[in-house]
Protein backbone atom coordinates (compact mmCIF):
# COMPACT_ATOMS: atom_id res chain seq x y z
CA UNK A 1 0.00 0.00 0.00
CA UNK A 2 3.10 2.17 -0.27
CA UNK A 3 4.57 3.40 -3.55
CA UNK A 4 7.83 5.27 -3.89
CA UNK A 5 9.60 6.48 -7.04
CA UNK A 6 12.94 7.89 -6.00
CA UNK A 7 16.53 8.57 -6.96
CA UNK A 8 17.86 7.39 -3.56
CA UNK A 9 18.80 3.86 -2.58
CA UNK A 10 16.57 1.91 -0.17
CA UNK A 11 17.14 -0.42 2.80
CA UNK A 12 15.45 -3.79 2.14
CA UNK A 13 15.68 -4.99 5.73
CA UNK A 14 14.23 -1.78 7.16
CA UNK A 15 11.37 -1.87 4.65
CA UNK A 16 10.53 -5.51 5.43
CA UNK A 17 10.65 -4.81 9.17
CA UNK A 18 8.42 -1.74 8.86
CA UNK A 19 5.90 -3.61 6.71
CA UNK A 20 5.43 -6.54 9.06
CA UNK A 21 5.89 -4.89 12.45
CA UNK A 22 3.02 -5.64 14.82
CA UNK A 23 0.82 -7.34 12.22
CA UNK A 24 0.19 -10.85 13.53
CA UNK A 25 -2.04 -11.79 10.60
CA UNK A 26 1.01 -12.07 8.32
CA UNK A 27 2.10 -15.67 7.77
CA UNK A 28 4.32 -15.13 4.75
CA UNK A 29 6.26 -12.21 3.34
CA UNK A 30 7.93 -12.25 -0.08
CA UNK A 31 10.41 -9.67 -1.29
CA UNK A 32 12.00 -9.22 -4.68
CA UNK A 33 15.00 -6.96 -5.15
CA UNK A 34 16.13 -6.17 -8.69
CA UNK A 35 19.79 -5.22 -9.06
CA UNK A 36 21.97 -3.87 -11.85
CA UNK A 37 24.09 -6.75 -13.00
CA UNK A 38 27.27 -6.62 -14.99
CA UNK A 39 26.54 -8.22 -18.34
CA UNK A 40 30.17 -8.60 -19.41
CA UNK A 41 30.02 -6.86 -22.81
CA UNK A 42 28.54 -3.64 -21.51
CA UNK A 43 30.01 -1.63 -18.67
CA UNK A 44 26.79 -2.32 -16.80
CA UNK A 45 26.07 1.23 -15.68
CA UNK A 46 22.71 2.60 -16.79
CA UNK A 47 20.39 5.53 -16.45
CA UNK A 48 16.73 4.97 -15.71
CA UNK A 49 14.32 7.52 -17.12
CA UNK A 50 10.65 7.61 -16.13
CA UNK A 51 7.46 9.58 -16.64
CA UNK A 52 6.97 11.54 -13.40
CA UNK A 53 3.34 11.64 -12.37
CA UNK A 54 2.19 8.76 -14.56
CA UNK A 55 4.63 6.34 -12.91
CA UNK A 56 3.30 6.94 -9.41
CA UNK A 57 -0.29 6.78 -10.66
CA UNK A 58 0.27 3.46 -12.42
CA UNK A 59 2.15 1.90 -9.51
CA UNK A 60 -0.68 2.85 -7.16
CA UNK A 61 -3.22 1.35 -9.58
CA UNK A 62 -1.39 -1.98 -10.00
CA UNK A 63 -0.81 -2.18 -6.26
CA UNK A 64 -4.56 -1.72 -5.70
CA UNK A 65 -5.21 -4.46 -8.27
CA UNK A 66 -2.88 -6.83 -6.38
CA UNK A 67 -4.85 -6.14 -3.20
CA UNK A 68 -8.08 -7.00 -5.02
CA UNK A 69 -6.70 -10.26 -6.39
CA UNK A 70 -4.93 -11.56 -3.29
CA UNK A 71 -5.59 -11.33 0.47
CA UNK A 72 -2.69 -9.00 1.23
CA UNK A 73 -1.96 -7.50 4.61
CA UNK A 74 0.69 -5.11 3.29
CA UNK A 75 2.67 -4.26 0.16
CA UNK A 76 5.44 -1.95 -0.96
CA UNK A 77 6.84 -0.95 -4.33
CA UNK A 78 9.99 1.17 -4.62
CA UNK A 79 11.45 1.93 -8.06
CA UNK A 80 14.55 4.05 -8.52
CA UNK A 81 15.48 6.29 -11.43
CA UNK A 82 18.68 8.12 -12.42
CA UNK A 83 22.15 6.67 -12.96
CA UNK A 84 22.86 3.26 -11.43
CA UNK A 85 25.96 1.06 -11.42
CA UNK A 86 26.44 -2.72 -11.23
CA UNK A 87 25.39 -4.01 -7.83
CA UNK A 88 23.04 -1.07 -7.25
CA UNK A 89 19.45 -1.85 -6.28
CA UNK A 90 16.84 -0.81 -8.90
CA UNK A 91 13.51 -2.02 -7.61
CA UNK A 92 11.96 -3.55 -4.51
CA UNK A 93 8.59 -5.30 -4.25
CA UNK A 94 7.36 -6.66 -0.93
CA UNK A 95 4.02 -8.38 -0.33
CA UNK A 96 2.74 -9.89 2.92
CA UNK A 97 -0.26 -12.17 3.38
CA UNK A 98 -1.65 -14.75 5.78
CA UNK A 99 -0.80 -17.31 3.03
CA UNK A 100 2.54 -17.95 1.38
CA UNK A 101 1.04 -18.64 -2.07
CA UNK A 102 -0.65 -15.23 -2.08
CA UNK A 103 2.58 -13.56 -1.00
CA UNK A 104 4.56 -15.26 -3.77
CA UNK A 105 1.99 -14.81 -6.54
CA UNK A 106 1.28 -11.15 -5.83
CA UNK A 107 4.99 -10.27 -5.59
CA UNK A 108 5.69 -11.90 -8.93
CA UNK A 109 2.61 -10.34 -10.50
CA UNK A 110 3.85 -6.89 -9.48
CA UNK A 111 7.41 -7.32 -10.72
CA UNK A 112 6.25 -8.90 -14.00
CA UNK A 113 3.97 -5.93 -14.46
CA UNK A 114 6.68 -3.39 -13.63
CA UNK A 115 8.96 -4.88 -16.29
CA UNK A 116 6.54 -4.21 -19.13
CA UNK A 117 3.89 -1.71 -18.07
CA UNK A 118 5.49 0.88 -15.81
CA UNK A 119 6.79 3.93 -17.73
CA UNK A 120 10.52 3.37 -17.14
CA UNK A 121 13.26 3.14 -19.75
CA UNK A 122 16.83 1.95 -19.33
CA UNK A 123 19.75 3.61 -21.13
CA UNK A 124 22.85 1.40 -20.93
CA UNK A 125 26.41 2.66 -21.11
CA UNK A 126 28.56 0.47 -23.33
CA UNK A 127 32.28 -0.28 -23.05
CA UNK A 128 33.16 1.92 -26.05
CA UNK A 129 31.71 4.99 -24.31
CA UNK A 130 28.45 4.87 -26.26
CA UNK A 131 24.93 4.48 -24.96
CA UNK A 132 21.99 2.39 -26.08
CA UNK A 133 18.37 2.12 -25.00
CA UNK A 134 17.53 -1.34 -23.73
CA UNK A 135 15.03 -3.08 -26.02
CA UNK A 136 11.86 -4.54 -24.52
CA UNK A 137 12.06 -8.33 -24.18
CA UNK A 138 9.39 -10.69 -25.49
CA UNK A 139 10.03 -12.94 -22.47
CA UNK A 140 8.99 -10.08 -20.18
CA UNK A 141 5.80 -9.57 -22.21
CA UNK A 142 5.03 -13.28 -21.82
CA UNK A 143 5.68 -13.11 -18.09
CA UNK A 144 3.25 -10.21 -17.73
CA UNK A 145 0.69 -11.87 -20.02
CA UNK A 146 0.36 -14.98 -17.86
CA UNK A 147 -1.39 -12.87 -15.21
CA UNK A 148 -3.88 -11.44 -17.71
CA UNK A 149 -5.33 -14.91 -18.32
CA UNK A 150 -6.76 -14.90 -14.82
CA UNK A 151 -8.25 -11.45 -15.00
CA UNK A 152 -11.93 -11.27 -14.06
Amino acid sequence: MTIRVQREDFDVGAEIAALSAGNHRIGGLTSFTGLVRNMGASLGAMTLEHYPGMTEKMLAAIDAQAHERWPLEASLIIHRYGRLEPGDRIVLVITASPHRDAAFDSCRFLIDWLKTKAPFWKLEESADGGERWVAAKASDDHAAARWAKNEG
Binding site: E49, H50, M54, V91, T116, K117, A136
Partner: protein, 83 residues
Protein backbone atom coordinates in the same frame (compact mmCIF):
# COMPACT_ATOMS: atom_id res chain seq x y z
CA UNK B 1 -1.87 20.63 -25.55
CA UNK B 2 1.32 19.45 -23.89
CA UNK B 3 3.30 16.73 -25.69
CA UNK B 4 5.94 14.66 -23.90
CA UNK B 5 8.53 12.39 -25.52
CA UNK B 6 10.56 9.87 -23.52
CA UNK B 7 13.69 7.75 -23.90
CA UNK B 8 14.81 6.94 -27.47
CA UNK B 9 11.90 8.89 -28.94
CA UNK B 10 12.93 12.01 -27.04
CA UNK B 11 16.52 11.60 -28.23
CA UNK B 12 15.60 11.13 -31.87
CA UNK B 13 13.18 14.05 -31.90
CA UNK B 14 15.52 16.19 -29.81
CA UNK B 15 12.71 17.57 -27.63
CA UNK B 16 11.37 16.27 -24.31
CA UNK B 17 8.33 18.47 -23.92
CA UNK B 18 6.51 21.03 -26.04
CA UNK B 19 3.23 22.90 -26.25
CA UNK B 20 1.39 22.36 -29.52
CA UNK B 21 -1.86 23.57 -31.01
CA UNK B 22 -2.96 21.00 -33.58
CA UNK B 23 -5.78 22.02 -35.96
CA UNK B 24 -9.33 21.02 -34.98
CA UNK B 25 -9.43 18.02 -37.37
CA UNK B 26 -6.85 16.24 -35.14
CA UNK B 27 -9.45 14.36 -33.10
CA UNK B 28 -7.61 11.18 -32.10
CA UNK B 29 -4.15 9.76 -31.42
CA UNK B 30 -3.69 8.41 -34.96
CA UNK B 31 -4.42 11.83 -36.45
CA UNK B 32 -2.05 13.49 -33.99
CA UNK B 33 0.82 11.15 -34.86
CA UNK B 34 0.18 11.76 -38.59
CA UNK B 35 0.22 15.50 -37.97
CA UNK B 36 3.43 15.32 -35.89
CA UNK B 37 5.19 13.31 -38.63
CA UNK B 38 4.65 16.16 -41.07
CA UNK B 39 6.55 18.58 -38.82
CA UNK B 40 9.96 17.45 -40.08
CA UNK B 41 12.25 14.53 -40.94
CA UNK B 42 13.21 13.83 -37.29
CA UNK B 43 9.54 13.50 -36.40
CA UNK B 44 8.75 11.46 -39.50
CA UNK B 45 11.56 9.03 -38.77
CA UNK B 46 11.00 8.73 -35.00
CA UNK B 47 7.25 8.17 -35.44
CA UNK B 48 7.41 5.97 -38.57
CA UNK B 49 6.81 2.63 -36.82
CA UNK B 50 3.73 2.97 -34.63
CA UNK B 51 4.13 -0.64 -33.40
CA UNK B 52 7.18 0.61 -31.48
CA UNK B 53 5.33 3.56 -29.94
CA UNK B 54 3.33 3.58 -26.73
CA UNK B 55 0.91 6.43 -26.05
CA UNK B 56 -0.55 7.92 -22.90
CA UNK B 57 -3.30 10.54 -22.90
CA UNK B 58 -3.52 12.43 -19.62
CA UNK B 59 -1.29 9.76 -18.05
CA UNK B 60 -3.51 6.82 -19.04
CA UNK B 61 -2.43 4.31 -21.69
CA UNK B 62 -4.18 5.04 -24.98
CA UNK B 63 -4.65 3.42 -28.37
CA UNK B 64 -4.48 4.85 -31.90
CA UNK B 65 -8.22 5.49 -31.87
CA UNK B 66 -8.31 7.15 -28.43
CA UNK B 67 -10.09 10.52 -28.65
CA UNK B 68 -8.17 13.68 -27.83
CA UNK B 69 -11.32 15.56 -26.73
CA UNK B 70 -10.36 17.49 -23.61
CA UNK B 71 -6.85 16.03 -23.53
CA UNK B 72 -4.27 18.23 -21.87
CA UNK B 73 -1.20 16.00 -21.95
CA UNK B 74 -0.16 13.41 -24.54
CA UNK B 75 2.99 11.33 -24.09
CA UNK B 76 4.75 9.23 -26.74
CA UNK B 77 7.44 6.71 -25.82
CA UNK B 78 9.00 3.32 -26.72
CA UNK B 79 8.02 0.03 -25.02
CA UNK B 80 8.87 0.18 -21.33
CA UNK B 81 11.91 -1.53 -19.83
CA UNK B 82 11.58 -1.01 -16.09
CA UNK B 83 11.87 -3.38 -13.16
Amino acid sequence: MKILYFAGLRQRIGVGEEEIEPPPEIVDVAALIGWLRRRGPDFAEALADTSAIRIAVDQEFAAMDTSLAGAREVALFPPMTGG
